[in-house]
């Protein structure tokens, strides 16, 4: 190996440097730069009005809102805790641009968890695990009356499982196993959870704050979190697209992940039905848009049957929620 002047270079030394001009101009590095420029601090949010609003709303409204926000509190902690395999796999694939961007991704997930921790502590007065767990809506109580679909816990079941498999592949070093594991993990994390399942939940909370004319701090927090989430989702779908373009057989892995947890998408699950007075059909329409968006970003063909099932008004889960 030689430089432009013909000087011999040690390849081992050259390999210690990862930045290239192409990488710095590339889409992942652009996401990293956006993340750095748009850093925000949870402590800058004013929750004074939220605290006053909490005092004036009814007990039914409180329990409805908590059904959603407590799920976010648990979810943001889970995704913070489950991101390491993706970083390890990016390193194993030699994608320094992905690792660089993921450094901001992990920080942002921790910050989102911090936001929900602070909001529940200051506004609701709950923080300790025993205090918040009693408001967590149990998934086993969400049932499909037709018996066709099973509602599972993709966040707390699929992510740890796909994460363990990906971490093992990254340590073993087989390139194809790492790529396949990355596609499965990212399809579940960025595509399914962040990119489709949770999007209506953000809108449910934002619509609730508008409907009640309350909780401006919560709404502002959601606005800032969504700005970050857009980068997270499109990082994952772009990474999947790159891997699928390299090996088109990986497209089937995305569909397998979505198929395994199809039940969670075709109807609204317990926490998404917790707030009374919202137009629930709207969120199913939007879910289709988010699903089609993710498929477009990954460069794969949407599953038309899944779309029909999401839009089918006959498929409507019964939610027999029992908190705690």
């Amino acid at each position: 190996m030689a430089d432009g002047n013909g000087t011999r270079l040690d390849p081992d030394i050259v390999r210690r440097f990862h930045f290239t001009r192409a990488m710095v101009k590339g889409p992942m590095y652009r996401k990293y730069k956006f993340a750095i420029k748009k850093i925000w601090d949870v402590d800058d949010l004013d929750l004074t009005q939220d605290t006053a609003d909490w005092e004036r709303i009814s007990e039914q409204q409180r329990e409805g809102l908590l059904g959603v926000t407590i799920r976010f509190l648990a979810g943001e902690q889970a995704v913070t805790d489950e991101l390491v395999p993706m970083i390890a796999a990016s390193h194993a694939l030699g994608r320094f641009d992905w690792v660089t961007y993921l450094s901001t991704f992990l920080m942002e997930e921790a910050k989102h968890a911090e936001f929900f921790m602070r909001w529940h502590d200051e506004v609701v007065g709950v923080l300790e695990p025993e205090e918040v767990a009693r408001h967590f809506l149990v998934r086993g109580e969400t049932l499909d009356p037709s018996g066709r679909f099973e509602v599972r816990d993709v966040l707390h079941e699929a992510l740890p499982r796909y994460g363990r498999e990906l971490l093992q592949a990254a340590m073993d070093g087989d390139q194809e196993e790492i790529e396949a594991g990355f596609v499965r993990f990212s399809a579940a994390y960025n595509g399914f959870v962040e990119g489709v399942l949770t999007m209506p939940s953000y809108e449910i909370v934002i619509d609730t704050t508008d409907l009640w004319g309350a909780f401006p701090g919560l709404k502002e927090g959601f606005r800032l979190i969504l700005r970050d989430e857009g980068r997270h989702i499109t990082f994952g779908t772009q990474a999947c697209r790159a891997l699928i373009e390299k090996n088109p057989s990986y497209e089937a892995l995305v569909h397998e992940v979505f198929d395994q947890y199809r039940g969670n998408l075709v109807g609204l699950v317990e926490y998404q039905k917790a707030v009374p007075g919202l137009d629930l059909d709207k969120y199913q329409q939007q879910k289709v848009r988010h699903y089609r968006n993710r498929c477009r970003e990954m460069g794969i063909t949407p599953d038309d049957e899944l779309i029909e099932q999401i839009l089918d008004p006959e498929i409507d889960f019964v939610v027999g929620v029992q908190a705690g």
């Binding site: 289709v288 848009r289 477009r296």
Partner: protein
Amino acid sequence: MVACQYECLEAGCGATIVAADEEALVDAVQQHMADRHGSFELEDVIIDMSTEVDEGKEEER
């Protein structure tokens, strides 16, 4: 500056939103989402899936 466009994938929509540049496109798509669907779109989703516009395309169709 190159004009750019974004196709809305909301069920039953399929509108193509066109704007003079990326920043204007983000604003125009958000306006479309609010007016037509009572919703919003993520900024990175709009930017990543926008494409350069064909000559003579209308603002929105």
